[in-house]
């Protein structure tokens, strides 16, 4: 009777719930991170192959729905547009800096960034757009909190967890992502945070500040690793916050986070 109970389905389920329930409750991430690090290091080359293969497959689908010549031109134009958006935001910021004689240390030229380029090997499997994983980690000098950009100056997110050969990037659409931002033209301050992996919100803007559709949002430079002037996106819609104490702006980012192949990690802000 006893052995029948212990070999029964209910007992097995109960045992698993008890053991793994305790694991979830205590969440010993320090214990599992070295295991993740080893597994990620072994699996990274295979994940990169799978990622590249699926990326090419997705592009094949696009190919049949558009004329290849126009598609290539379109991609080039999109890339150039991203670069110009970032450059434009930086130039506006530099113009303002020169006008009010701001301290040089608050302006960090992009060409002085120490960048580490990496390939994306996996994404958030829950379809939430919360994170991506790259094939470079602590062995390449990458540390937690370092900003991640594409196309020279578009902010994609920042480094969340670092392993020896891989790193996890917390995207701007992640609800745990919080970055200090400003409006490029008017220096209106706010907090840029992610919204359930789907969008970006410019929050905690004072009611007395003026913010309008089309305004460019850039990083303010406040915070340990985040340089000033990295382009985040354009204001799409302005509305009051849920508590009516502040204003909120929905931001439209030029980055298609699910389509990222390579990113650059800023290892050094370049002003030291």
């Amino acid at each position: 009777m006893k052995s029948k109970f212990f070999s029964g389905k209910v007992f097995k389920v109960f045992l698993v719930l008890a053991v793994f329930g305790l694991l979830i409750f205590f969440n010993p991430s320090k214990f599992f991170n070295p295991v993740r690090s080893v597994l990620s290091g072994i699996a990274a080359p295979f994940q990169k192959l799978a990622y590249l293969f699926s990326f090419k497959t997705a592009q094949v689908g696009d190919f049949f729905s558009s004329i290849h010549r126009f598609k290539q031109d379109n991609e080039n134009l999109i890339e150039e547009n991203r670069r110009l958006l970032a450059e434009n935001a930086m130039l506006k910021d530099e113009k303002r800096e020169n006008f009010i004689l701001r301290e040089q240390l608050k302006l960090l030229p992009r060409d002085k960034f120490d960048l580490e380029t990496a390939h994306v090997i996996s994404q958030d499997p829950y379809g939430l757009g919360n994170w991506i994983e790259i094939n470079k980690g602590a062995n390449y000098g990458i540390r937690q909190g370092m900003p991640v950009i594409i196309s020279g100056g578009l902010l994609a997110g920042k480094i969340g967890e670092v392993y020896s050969t891989t790193a996890k990037i917390i995207l701007m659409t992640n609800p745990n992502s919080i970055i200090n931002g400003i409006v490029a033209d008017t220096e209106v301050k706010g907090i840029v945070r992610g919204e359930y992996g789907l969008g970006i919100v410019f929050d905690m803007v004072l009611q007395t500040d003026v913010i309008k559709e089309g305004d460019e949002i850039i990083t303010s430079g406040l915070g340990e690793n985040m340089p000033r002037g990295l382009f985040i996106g354009n204001v799409r819609e302005v509305k009051p916050s849920s508590d009516r104490l502040f204003q909120q702006a929905l931001i439209s980012s030029p980055i298609k986070f699910s389509g990222l192949q390579t990113v650059s990690v800023i290892k050094n802000k370049g002003n030291e």
Partner: protein, 173 residues
């Protein structure tokens, strides 16, 4: 020993598909849940007891590669597997006419159950509270894709059993 290696490789490939293939192919939209459908198929084809250790291993590996809280997917997969095993013993799953509908029903409830459990374990309850319509919309889209994926995996597993192992359930027994 080779059966265990094949099983482990199948689980690793499933995890790679879920983390490095499907999110790219579905371009930011809700991808189907390949791992969950694999668990459901294993339970339907091999039974809860035979699939049990592999479901635990699958959950652990997926937790590690998906950067989830360790143990979260194990708990969810085991609960779903037990639920399906419990219901399949009581519903006409062998019936040609109703079997497919019953299995589609299993996929539906497992999809919704998985999404709710993951949201609860990740502390994202606000996501549902803010928009019930969006939650059901995304869940329904995922469920439809999962139903298609389920039958693909189901037929693939049955074909492997039939042609390569000559009706013996070698991989998990």
């Amino acid at each position: 020993m080779s059966k265990k290696i094949i099983g482990a490789m199948a689980i690793l490939v499933s995890v790679f598909i879920q983390t490095s293939v499907l999110p790219v192919l579905f371009g930011g939209h809700q991808p189907p849940n390949f791992i969950l459908m694999a668990v459901v198929v294993w339970t339907v084809v091999y039974g809860f007891s035979a699939a049990f250790p592999w479901i635990i291993f699958c959950g652990i590996v997926f937790d590690l590669f998906s950067h989830s809280i360790a143990g979260s997917n194990v708990v969810i997969f085991v609960l779903i597997s037990y639920l399906i095993s419990f219901l399949s013993g009581r519903l006409l799953i062998e019936s040609k006419n109703w079997g497919s509908l019953v299995m589609a029903f299993f996929v539906l409830i497992s999809t919704f159950f998985y999404r709710i459990m993951i949201i609860l374990l990740q502390g994202r309850v606000q996501e549902i509270a803010d928009s019930y319509a969006k939650f059901f919309q995304y869940s329904a889209k995922e469920a439809i894709c999962n139903i298609v994926l389920f039958f693909l995996i189901f037929f693939a597993v049955n074909k492997i059993n039939k042609y390569f192992y000559r009706s013996e359930k070698i991989i998990f027994n």
